[in-house]
Symmetry: C2
Subunit: 676 residues, 2 copies
């Protein structure tokens, strides 16, 4: 029975302080409004409206604690404060050089109407394209340490509609094909969770600045109502433990008229702290090649033996290839001892300092330096965090001593089976999003930064915009990558990238490792056209972009390969020109180091006739358009995958390009301004 | 990336022991077949087929542990054993006197193909109407103590269809209206979770014998695939901690052609241990009245003051009413000190030994004994388990000394906010299904049994058939009860009971507290007809049945009240004659203490013309049928609720009764054999 709540609310009304009315705060353009209040049961809630229409209906705020009463009812609003902010800041690298942070802020203070009089605050920041909010535990009334059993924040979506999601907390981490279901068909999902309400409004739920806290999954309760659920931990009953004062990560809700608006939001970055590393000019966005795709084709091996990939000779071959074609790094996987046993189940086998005998790291470092092509290091942990942390500094030192500027880390194990060793020697199993894992990732990133090394984490925790604060955390995997095209059942398929662009990629840069122009996996074809393979370099953003195919394969397609050689990995501007989640996306980006623009389009198995207005170009200027597009017979199946037309045109901002995308196809365009 | 699994599987094939083929076991009637095996990744799984068609497709087995590697892959089948069982046992009380336990059993032994060679077993029992299975941890290879972070058992339903469910782990425990959605629209659900596949096959997922383990919720992952998720605990990282050897609770899957088959299954009881209490003849099924509905109408109060319900005079009035009308108990809520403060948030206020001054327990005990109507005790804890356990024995002693034979316990607080005090004094917050809460409930039940007291838990943990082992655990709430008709928003509505009958009630007896013939709540009408109010005594099974209305209201409806006086609370047989989940249910039961039969029918807001064959009656015998049915204008709204026809007929087993159920209506029939 629960009607006691009603009785209690009545009682409390008589003892509560002078009631604050519901507080509201609007976006700078006035379209989005957030209201914060307590309901008739003295439970705090917020809601979000856009143009006066509900987007998020009354949604509760609060926490379950392991050692204190639930913090969620008997709460009164006892104060509020406001601020506004409009600033433009510069990224060291990114999708755009300058980012505007324009928002209105409301902080609401709650106090429990009990003897304990526990107090906390919630800060809302309202941007034109969404909101972020976080809890502030900054009062001694909460005790010295807050032990959070569960977060109770709700996200009640105002309408049903369509959702694109992957299941949260399941064994294969984020590496699932996206589900497209009714919003009312989501279960427990990872974020970003992307929703399109029946009226067409696009919403994405995510978090920003996940630091020293458990990662958030969102769990649908009933209908289109969701609430937060924090990743469990093997370390204790509390999913997050923090000493007061602290703030939780930001809970973010992007709101847009269309898919493009989601992809162009900078809220994720704006809610993170500014760069803490100072001068990070030691990291330069770049493209790279590496000893990698051959393993997934099973023509090379990580472990030692006759087809060992990381041999001195083979790596020299890659260095030569990189130097010849302008790539600025060679990834080498399988270079270190540990791959020959039951490594998937025993990460303790890995040494981060001992190369295989046939990998002469000193010689290769000299060769790489001579050729001007750094080696990209690789630290596969197999999820044994204890083993990795014990060797972390020595392992990073070895890389730094050998001229390595970027390290790809790996955490191949099941989602909640990471082996963590605590300071007291206790060993626990942890989820990808456990609080202690967030500490681990930041430890790796900051230790790497001391050595001017950038980190590209695979099987990572999801991105929450921390690249702003730690600009050497340059990219991550965190979704089904190219390797699933080699051996995945099923492979990624034509709709994967048009979905990723509005789900995983809302979080931040992804090391998808595109560019397999041979369009062939391990006994199965890639489900795309060759023009599409090029387009992915524009559509999928990362400051490090692999050219994943084997050098001998690139030799077969020199004309298409030219685009991969040309396309930059750093941009001054990025715009999604046209898109539907899961169907297609057309993106234009401007090179940060020249006046060139690039346009990429990808489409699902339906294909699409697209008309691309070039109005983003400088007016009055003529450009050479180098166009890589699907040929008339192109299709994602069979020989038709290779039907590509490469042509050049003169265009201006007044022009429109008619670019037919074949089923599973796409296009890539480079636009070079003619010298005046 | 995950393709390493494929490599590993290949490696393991070469070292695995002589492979056992997939083991299968079938039900006694041969229709249901369970197959147990390991898949190509050496992950154990089971599947269930019925008549050769899939019901549960390949579904994995396993566990996440907090301090050991996940136990779920690299596993080989290294042995199996089989048994068959056919026994009929007698219940001390129940829906039927004799229960047949007829099943075939398969135990499969798994061994990890690793250095640790961890071993465990899974036992499957296959009945004609479903299966149960549990894990056996009985080998030292698992270490002394197993710390379970999560159970990974999957339940992959072979087809989409319709689901009836309530959300698992949300604040209001089990007290939600049931959702009816596609199976692919479930999120995290409590069990029993009831499903009807597209082909009409009915399935219910639940568990049996939940003892010293965390309760199981089921979480949909994607599509129609579910997996177990154990209730978290505030006590540690592990959701269940047990020393070897132990067995988990049984995971149960009922499978039936129709709704009736689910409701008539005895699997839940058959998977529990036999009676551990010995002679339990001290508990007799009975009907009772009490000081209760007046509080929900807000005309009486739990706390002291001018409308205090539990006064000596008022309770005497109820005792008189009970004695006069044949009820064998008077529930008294609000008798003890603790209700006057902020009790909802502070269960420590409750004394279980100190009555309010205006409640003369000694005098009432004498009066009750004289009238032959025991008082039914009440222990509201407000979820403060520490406070209750500290007073438990004294509180039970007080009740026993005052002739109390049944105690209603209460745990009114939010689902995961129960205050538990451990042996070392540490205080944690616990979920309704936490492992330590299971220990608490059994402690109360066994302490009560020592004093020959029965327990009726409200805001309980779900029933898992433990009444077989502890027959004094006679009933529970565990769903939205009658009080929601007093003040619930919305009230329970016409479809609630036709849904409960195939969801909550699959678990066991429910103290729904029917019989509000006045059909009026606190400012809102009950959404049912008066005939329906009677029918609920037959449809909703409990060995204790309240007549919940105020005595003065029963005085207004003496003819209808006669049925409540007549209907028994103990049965020798029970049959669901016709039903559709959520729409209607017609149930026949035979009195355990006479040759009378009773039939009850309830229907949702659609109404229904029903034809009830009386073929269950003794052939060749004539019965007086006392029929309480909806009148021609009857309807769940307005004055039409009171349109009831009470009539008598002579019938035999060859007859059929045409009984129209009005929208939100029903019927109740008593069938009395004429003396030969």
């Amino acid at each position: 029975m629960t009607f006691f709540r009603l009785l209690l609310a009545t009682l409390l009304l008589t003892v509560a302080p002078a009631a604050f009315a519901g507080e509201t705060v609007s976006s700078p353009d006035g379209r989005l409004t957030v209201t914060v209040d307590v309901n008739g049961e003295w439970r705090p809630f917020y809601r979000v409206e856009r143009d006066g229409k509900p987007v998020i209906t009354d949604s509760r705020l609060g926490f379950l604690l392991t050692d204190q009463d639930k913090l969620e009812r008997r709460l009164a609003v006892v104060g509020s404060s406001r601020a506004s902010h409009d600033e433009t800041w510069e990224q060291p690298w990114g999708e755009r050089r300058f980012v505007r942070d324009n928002h209105n802020e409301l902080t609401v203070r709650f106090e429990e109407q009990s003897d304990a009089k526990r107090k906390f605050g919630v800060v809302f920041r309202v941007f034109d394209d969404g909101i972020g909010f976080r809890y502030l535990f900054d009062d001694a009334s909460m005790g010295q340490t807050v032990r959070i059993a569960e977060e109770l924040t709700e996200f009640n979506i105002a309408q049903d509609g369509t959702a694109w999601w992957i299941p949260g907390g399941e064994w294969n981490r984020y590496e699932y094909l996206y589900e497209q279901t009714p919003i009312s068909g989501v279960s427990v999902a990872h974020t970003p969770l992307t929703l399109r309400m029946a009226d067409g409004t696009h919403i994405a739920l995510h978090e920003a600045a996940l630091v020293d806290f458990a990662g958030m999954w969102v769990k649908r309760t009933t209908g289109a109502n969701f609430r937060a659920t924090l990743a469990p931990t093997g370390s204790g009953a509390a999913r997050a433990v923090r000493d007061v004062p602290f703030a939780t990560p930001w809970r973010t809700i992007l709101v847009s008229d269309n898919a493009a608006g989601l992809a162009m939001s900078d809220i994720e970055l704006n809610l993170n702290e500014p760069n803490k590393l100072g001068d990070v000019s030691w990291f330069k966005p770049h493209k790279y090649v590496g000893v990698w795709w051959g393993m997934h084709l099973a023509v090379e091996s990580w472990g030692s033996g006759p087809i060992h990939g990381a041999t001195t000779a083979n790596v020299k071959r890659y260095i030569d290839f990189a130097a010849k074609n302008g790539f600025e790094g060679v990834l080498v996987e399988g270079w270190n001892v540990g791959w020959d046993g039951d490594w998937f189940f025993n990460g303790s086998l890995f040494s981060f300092t001992q190369p295989y005998p046939d990998y002469d790291f000193d010689e290769l470092a000299r060769y790489a330096a001579k050729k001007g092509v750094p080696i990209i290091g690789h630290h596969e942990t197999s999820g044994d965090i204890g083993n990795y942390e014990a060797q972390l500094e020595a392992g990073l030192d070895l890389m730094a001593q050998h001229g390595v500027k970027t390290i790809k880390t790996g955490y191949v194990t099941d989602a909640c089976n990471l082996r963590y060793v605590h300071a007291d020697g206790i060993e626990t199993r942890e989820c990808t999003e456990s609080q202690v894992m967030q500490r681990h990732h930041l430890k790796v990133v900051t230790e790497a930064a001391k050595r001017h090394i950038a980190i590209n984490a695979h099987e990572p925790v999801k991105d929450t915009g921390l690249r702003r604060t730690y600009p050497n955390w340059v990219a991550r995997e965190g979704a089904r990558g190219m390797e699933f095209n080699a051996w995945g059942v099923p492979p990624n398929g034509p709709s994967h990238i048009p979905t990723l662009a509005f789900t995983r990629m809302l979080a931040g840069p992804m090391d998808y490792t595109p560019g397999v122009l041979s369009l062939e996996g391990r006994g199965q074809p890639l489900q795309m056209t060759q023009a599409r393979a090029l387009a992915e370099y524009v559509v999928v953003y990362s400051p490090i972009q692999m050219a994943a195919d084997l050098p001998e394969n690139y030799a077969k397609y020199p004309k298409a390969f030219q685009f991969i050689k040309d396309v930059p990995a750093d941009w001054s501007e990025s715009r999604v020109l046209d898109a539907q989640v899961g169907d297609y996306v057309i993106t234009a980006r401007k090179d940060r180091n020249s006046a060139d623009w690039y346009v990429g389009g990808v489409v699902d198995e339906q294909g699409r006739d697209s008309r691309v207005s070039l109005s983003f170009l400088d007016p009055g200027r003529t450009y050479r358009a180098q166009i890589y597009r699907d040929g008339p017979s192109a299709n994602w199946e069979g020989e038709a995958r290779f039907d590509i037309i490469i042509e050049e045109k003169r265009v201006t901002a007044a022009d429109t390009l008619d670019l037919r995308m074949a089923p599973g196809g796409g296009f890539a365009v480079r636009l070079i301004p003619l010298k005046r």
